[in-house]
Amino acid sequence: MIKPLVDNIEIANLITKKMKGGLTDEESIQLNSWLEEQNANKEIYSRILEGDGFAEGIDLISEFDLENSWNQIEPKIKDSKSFKYKRYFKYAVAASVLFLIALTTYIVNPFEKTEITAGTPRAVLTTVNGEDVVLEKEKKYSDQFVSSSNGTLKYDEISEGSSKNAVTYNYLTIPRGGEFTLVLSDGTKVWLNSDTKIKYPIQFKRGAPRNVELLYGEAYFDVVSAEDFNGSSFSVQSNGQRLKVLGTEFNIKSYPEDLATKTTLVEGSVLVSIAGEQVELTPDSQLIWDKETESFKVIELNAIAETSWKQGVFNFNHLPLEEVMRVVSRWYDVNVEFEHQEMKNIQFNGVFKKDQKIDNILETITKSINTAYEIKEDKIIIK
């Protein structure tokens, strides 16, 4: 019973290839002989070419809840024997995180008043088995192919045998108030800012394109050049844009709450595929993708200043106050409220160190625009 089904799927692949172009001669003969086999086959084929039922299918998709369905399946497949001890491991991690939170709250907060502190190196690593491992600056961690110390997660260089295996992925999530550095298996270094998530292969394959995905947040890439890596290109997928590089330094800022995605080139050259176009960036230029109009523009700027967050400096260059406060809120993990909405658009210019106390920063900002601020628990109110 399986055999005819496999044949059907192969026929479907041939039809798809024919529609997209790129059917080989041999495949073309295969498709024709299937068509000639029965009149019914020809009828199926012509209904597909007409798009019979295609639009109806698209209409229906929103009726199916992918996320909810996965939540229902997940406990069932994790109940399988091989996952038992890993499940407990996950609880243990969760429990220890809770304990840590409770402990820090107690130490920092003996008088039930929250103190707002600057961020520190921390991250959560999601392994191929779906385990979550909490990484911190002082905590050492190591596993096959990977180790973490001093705020850097480093993957081993590609081993010779690895190209035979399938590519497997890890995820690294940086919480608000966190930052971390990642060294991939080709030596490429990635600085990750607060509130960021990235997906990457544990081991790149030699000679194959190197692909990573920035799911959200901000990341600075220093890519090992293709020449040093068997000529294979490096590409970053992020929110509808794909960026292809041959060895270079660049920064992508792509937070869901921001109105634009910004890609800044520091050194080298990159090719960005976006909205059906290819754009080549030169150093000290920035591609801005406006999410509302789904259009983009390229501007010139000082790329080093724009990406100074990775050197421990905030450089606000004529930015609206709302954007400035969003950066502050991610690093200090606080919420920000504006008493007067028009304040959001006032432009601010200034440089701060990231280890400064939040009061210093807020004082400087509010004085420069003749207003005041107030901190209520974990919320900053701009008057």
Partner: protein
């Protein structure tokens, strides 16, 4: 992630994230396939979940993606026909027609081809994609503009973006193309 045999061998070793990405890629197709048999979206969703769990339980039996797909379709088909029998939704004669190889064959081939065309649409930026989906439902530009709270000119620009992209991916004479841009 693009599905391939590599992912199937990862799943057979118990790799849970690999299974998740197969789920993400294939769940909707199984729902759509089943819903055409059972005519109930809720039931179709339950059946698709059950079929995927059945595969996970037998994961070590499979090495090739195409065999996994065949297994999932056949399991979904059987579960769907059982559902119809159990709920007596249709007369037995109709169940017989549905079980007919040719009908099922057409549903499978269609879903496989259409899923791969939908992938091209999914690659578009979100607002461009939304405009296309509304156009596919037969909406005219002014209606789309009203629905999305943008100007008619913005709708035209977004359609133009989509036009270029789809043309690149599928060529100018595919039906998707014709459906979208017949005014």
């Amino acid at each position: 992630m693009k599905l391939n045999d590599g992912i199937v061998s990862e799943i057979s070793n118990g790799n849970y994230l690999a299974f998740k990405s197969l789920f993400d890629n294939f769940f909707t197709s199984l729902c759509l396939f089943s819903s055409q048999i059972v005519k109930s979206n809720v039931a179709a969703q339950d059946i698709a979940q059950e079929a995927l769990i059945a595969y996970w339980k037998r994961k070590s039996d499979f090495e090739e993606l195409i065999k996994v797909k065949a297994f999932l379709y056949i399991t979904t088909k059987n579960l769907s026909l059982n559902y119809l029998k159990k709920n007596q939704k249709v007369a037995p004669v109709e169940v017989y027609t549905l079980a007919n190889d040719k009908t099922i064959q057409e549903l499978i081939i269609k879903e496989e081809v259409y899923a791969s065309l939908r992938e091209e649409i999914d690659r578009l930026p979100p607002r461009t994609r939304k405009v296309l989906q509304l156009a596919l439902q037969g909406m005219k530009n002014p209606e789309i503009a009203l629905q999305l709270n943008v100007s008619v000119n913005t709708v035209k620009t977004l359609k133009k973006n989509a036009y270029a992209e789809i043309r690149k991916a599928l060529g100018g004479d595919s039906f998707v193309f014709l459906l979208l841009f017949s005014e």
